[in-house]
Symmetry: C2
């Protein structure tokens, strides 16, 4: 049976990156449904739209055989409305988001709309992958990404993705040289060193532009940044359980607070299978 | 020396919840600086503003002794501009966000603007806490929260918060009865069962409202939901390293992919102290 693949992104339905992803998913002989933002949503993190409604407009942008919609919401909204309205309860075999124009490695995963679509799908119990190319701009070169994206999607379809987890895949830019392979990695402990530049509008009122340099002082060789620097595609399994289990015991001692009932909970519990949420959630 | 406390939220500078938080922080004899969104930002997750600049308007809303600004960005933007512009490099001793009108327990932490302000502060290496009251609306009753908020802030100032971690504090509503105490907890594996309601505008074009029921099938007694249901204030230490370390080994085996260089990385590395990022980040 043909797999059902749901595609979204954060750069909008008309971005080159999502067109490449749709073209690649055709090679998997999948049924393809696309629900992507009507306007660019970079940096939207895991935002959702509350307080006003969404619009959904069908599009033939990808030609025959691909059902596509532009949604006026965020990437997380797109996955929600795809799952609960467009697909009318059918469960995709795979959800892919991207291909983002620009890296979402390290701490950028938190700000990433691309990854929020994947994580939203993981919350729904769906296998999900966010793909990003480490090259910004509309002119980004996607010509080398095909085999790597396809290999990762084939493995996900064949072997699944651990429960409660979405994959954050980053691909080195083509100009960096031939890709060495695919490497599992942890999120590097890097961050942005930011500053704000003050300017004045023609009415002499100040406004502020956010500027920043990405700084990685995490020297671990097991990070996504290290894998990318060595020419590998990095794959970080990302969870949406934010609990710092190690900190629970540390805080119980230092703060003299009650530990959770039922024990110290020093290790993560086993994820609940999505089916446990009942048919209404699926 | 008086501690320096930075306050933000997601319900905007004029929400009752932040006024309660400012009033409570005065009791700690702290120097207080507030940078909060100019308009409500609920559900904004960890969104940041890129592509257009921010405005910052000073306000005397909290009266004498409190420096306050409304910022046109998201909660994460507020913390960034507070840290890098308003405070001119001074490091707050504590960052508090809220008090949110409505629960941010369980998976809601991902969508929460309140918690994104706290997590942004944690990324900057600052001790940070997001406070939420499990009661929605402008008429929410904050009259019982004082001793619990103060106790948690005093402990944070005295004992610190584990590195790489922000606290997600949820407080039962007053109508639920007397609070039993403070309990450390893990994030419950609950989710929203969502649906979309289709309506038509006066021009016969459809639009869609997101509706949902919060469903908790996680029966663990060590969750934030269980603590709240038992009448306790729940405290979940939240990390921004999303790596699912357990999944790295699982995937290396099932997918036959290369493990990260330097070993299996099956356990989280020690967080880097914020100072390791160098003075420019502080």
């Amino acid at each position: 049976m043909r797999p059902l693949i749901l595609i979204s992104n954060d750069d909008s339905l008309t971005a080159p990156g999502i067109a490449h992803l749709v073209r690649l998913m055709r090679e998997l002989e999948a049924e393809i449904v696309v629900v992507a933002p009507a306007s660019p949503q970079s940096g939207m993190g895991h935002a959702i739209t509350i307080g006003h409604p969404l619009r959904l407009d069908q599009s033939d942008i990808f030609g025959e055989g691909v059902t596509a919609y532009a949604c006026t919401g965020t990437p997380a909204d797109c996955v929600k409305i795809a799952k609960h309205y467009v697909l009318e309860g059918r469960r995709p075999d795979l959800v892919v988001s991207g291909i983002n124009h620009g890296s979402n490695s390290s701490v950028n995963v938190l700000y990433s709309g691309t990854m929020s679509a994947a994580i939203e799908a993981a919350i729904e119990g769906l296998p999900a992958i966010g793909f990003s190319l480490c090259e910004y701009g509309d002119a980004a070169d996607f010509s080398h990404v095909g085999p790597w994206v396809l290999e990762i999607c084939r493995q996900a379809l064949a072997h699944g993705i651990p429960a409660g987890t979405a994959l954050n895949v980053n691909i080195p830019k083509n100009a960096a040289g031939p890709i060495q392979g695919i490497r599992l990695a942890r999120q590097a402990r890097a961050k942005w060193q930011e500053k704000f530049e003050q300017r004045h509008d023609p009415y002499r009122r100040p406004y502020y532009w956010l500027l920043g340099d990405f700084v990685n002082k995490d020297l671990g060789r097991d990070t996504d940044e290290a894998a990318l620097a060595a020419g590998y595609v990095s794959v970080v399994p990302c969870q949406y359980d934010l609990t710092n289990y190690g900190a629970l015991g540390e805080m119980a001692e230092a703060w003299q607070l009650a530990l959770p009932e039922g024990g110290p909970a020093a290790t993560p519990p086993q994820p609940v299978a999505s089916e446990d949420y009942g048919p209404a959630a699926q």
